[in-house]
Amino acid sequence: MKTKKIATYGLLVALAFILSYVETLVTIPFPPVPGMKLGLANLVVLAALYTMGGKESLVLSVLRIVLVGFTFGHPSTMLFSIAGGLLSWILMLLFMKTKWFSLVGVSIVGGISHNIGQILVAIYIVDNINIAYYLPYLLITGAVTGTLIGILGAMIVKRIKNVQNT
């Protein structure tokens, strides 16, 4: 592994870790869906996807989920994070390759699919299809937070590319 790649990995893992921590401090007062998250850590997966590649962003995503699960998170919620993380990674990679959307559109796809992945696991675990009731709310919040994360992500990608090219 090239030194520059190792350094970028370190940078992004650290950033993902910090953002996940910040996210535990912020509760969004959105009554229909308590426990809603901004998806800040998706910034890092998105940035890795565009600056390092598909495989590297998967490594980062899984590393982040495991690290956070054992520190600020709760092991019982790790399964949800993994389901959401994997589904959003696969779909973001696919949509990035199609070039239909810019980084912002890919981020929205990531935000929404992260929510859908978590809901699917929740339906399976509690064995109650009615949880799907949250889905329309999560579509809307996913579109909004995905857009914001995408705009921020584009800024981060620009800066990482500056570092990579020096």
Partner: protein, 122 residues
Amino acid sequence: MIKKNDLILIGAVIILGLGIIFFINVTKTEGSKVLITIDGKEYDTFPLDEDTTFTVELDNGEYNTFVIKDGQVDMTEASCPDKVCVRHKEIHYNNETIVCLPNNVVLQIIGGEEDEIDAIAK
């Protein structure tokens, strides 16, 4: 930076979400009972027209307390770490749920056919 396709995606997703929410709101009916499910198994049901406070105690020492008041169910206390279920608004329409994922406890509103007829009669 942002492409036209991105805007179409944002618009389509928001319209789809609002459409489903609208559909749910138009078709929802008042429930008459609350069903408690633990680990996917039915545990007990309570009528909504009797005010009561009940604590579900799990074998592993975890607990969830809910209150039935004025025909509505609200989770007021829980041993779970995230307290998402406690922050959830009170429920009373059919098929509405309050889920405590860490404890795998689900409150679900059921059995509203009679109320539905009443509502139409009114």
